[in-house]
Symmetry: C2
Subunit: 334 residues, 2 copies
């Protein structure tokens, strides 16, 4: 391994000068600087990050903690984060907290000392984190986490408003029996979408019917099963709001299989507006979320906190959603 000492020796300067030439350039004479840089280049010198971080107590990396990774949702989030991080000269240390695996706290511990800040996405996160696992004042941005009293920035998708808009739209089309296939149990996004559903029902003067709210877990299979269950209730729904597009597509499959026409017999709406939504048959009405923007903003907030930790006050942002009407809800052709 070639160290800065080797560079200094080869360039016939001291290590101090070498170090300065490489990144505090204004303190060193022009010729010396160029000479050192040439030598460093020739020797393929790369500074040892560990040693540097020992001195500066900074790593130029951020940690990204996600729940189990699946679907294009996460790759979009990661893309947004990574893009912003690269722009700021940071690296992303990624870790997923799987259900069976090590706990959130263990994951946090293992990241301590490796990262300057953290983006934590944990829709099932219950709240009391920073107390134990993190140095107080450690920069953290919460992504789609349930609100908590911890003093951290947070960014979330407007789940409530999006779901509400969808259900309001369905009600506006004259539906009175509107069902929901819910997201995963204990999931914050799922809970918020459910809340939006109920609120929209009330606002439309409709009563919440427990038999029209079936459980799900965001998978296509759950949408399939959910739709089948809904077809069996005594006074079946004329519209179904699936808490994400995957389940909506599963539901489409089940309805087709049962001989129901969409949207003529029954309307369907999803959530997320994944790219595929407009290509299924019928094209899926959904709630559009700019997922990579979610990642970008989270990273952006984190870097803001990192670069200027002065006068930082906790912010809670919400990423807006927009209703995208296509054929599956029957309002008009798109």
């Amino acid at each position: 391994m070639v160290t800065i000492r080797d560079v200094a020796r080869a360039a016939r300067v001291s290590v101090a000068t070498a170090s300065r030439a490489l990144h505090k350039s204004h303190l060193v004479a022009h010729d010396t600087r160029e000479a050192v840089r040439a030598v460093a280049d020739r020797l393929h010198y790369t500074p040892h990050r560990g040693a540097r971080s020992l001195i500066t107590s900074t790593t130029h990396s951020i940690g990204v903690l996600l729940p189990d990774l699946y679907g294009e949702f996460f790759s979009e989030v990661i893309r947004g984060i990574d893009q912003t991080a690269q722009g700021a000269g940071y690296h992303c240390l990624l870790s997923s907290v799987r259900h069976g695996g090590p706990t959130l706290e263990a994951a946090l511990r293992s990241m301590r000392g490796r990262v300057d800040g953290l983006i934590l996405m944990s829709p099932e996160f219950t709240g009391d984190l920073s107390k134990r696992a993190l140095p107080s004042g450690f920069p953290v941005v919460l992504l789609n986490c349930p609100p908590s009293d911890t003093p951290h920035d947070s960014i979330a998708v407007a789940n409530f408003e999006g779901a509400r808009a969808m259900v309001r739209h369905l009600a506006g089309l004259g539906h009175t029996r509107i069902a929901i296939i819910q997201g995963a149990e204990g999931n914050f996004d799922a809970a918020e979408r459910m809340r939006g559903y109920r609120t929209a029902l009330t606002e439309a003067g409709l009563r919440f019917a427990p038999e029209l709210a079936v459980p799900g877990d965001f998978s296509e299979a759950a949408g399939d099963a959910g739709a089948r269950a809904l077809l069996r209730v005594v006074d079946p729904p004329t519209a179904i709001f699936a808490a994400n597009d995957g389940m909506a597509i599963g539901a489409l499959y089940a309805l087709r299989d049962a001989g129901r026409r969409v949207p003529e017999d029954i309307a369907i709406g999803g959530f997320d507006d994944i790219p595929m939504a407009r290509y299924v048959e019928p094209a899926l009405t959904s709630v559009h979320v700019d997922i990579s923007a979610l990642g970008e903003q989270a990273a952006g907030r984190l870097f803001a906190a990192l670069e200027g930790p002065l006068e930082h006050h906790v912010s809670r942002a919400t990423l807006p959603t927009t209703l995208v009407v296509r054929r599956s809800c029957g309002s008009r052709r798109t």
Copy 2:
């Protein structure tokens, strides 16, 4: 920040004993060890990774370099890698090499000194990497990269065999005008699938017709456009092989829009077998790839090289694919 000195002082032992108590436990008396650990716990001590890596010249992280992140393909790969890495006590430093962004070499440089090994996925990778950007002997596993003469392990999906099996199947159903919607230009996966397509044609006694090979880029929109183009050729195809499922779904959309029935008028096959494939209408015949296994195996190979660098010889593995026949190709109902 609480250091090992603090722990040592609080436990009334030397730093050496403290250090040993924490991970070379057999060298220290039972009581001392427990005492030190209790203190470390109470103080929330976490070792400074930089300092440790300075001594051991090891980081316990691996770098993961991916092309632009999109679709569920990548989140699956990452999932597989991360899972294996966590099992081995490693972290993943993730970076994507975007088209407009910094070059592959820059990305490699920025990872130097931060990671013990590297997983590089770059279907457009041209070959001459290790020479300059990496210390020689640095453990690298290549994922879906074009074969090169660099002395690195590599793992790839059996693109050629999968595509060949698909096209052979279509030919076996009696189709003689079989088209392909190709993957991205310059992409190795795409090229291999194309090669499988041509080989299968030849094996079936069919002639390659250039007008039946339209370009694409793995996106739904490209599948849409590709299918429309294919409908316009003078003697249109009776079967289409789309180089991935996204394009196949785009093609389904276009065909439906043009009033063609699938599979009665025209058969369709995809590649990847994404979860959604079985839920579209008609259910999509595809080539199944266990994507997360790809990541797992890559990580596995890397750790094998890291833990025991002795007697390591370059290996090239191929992840098998299986043809999944569903309704879209018309052979039978599933």
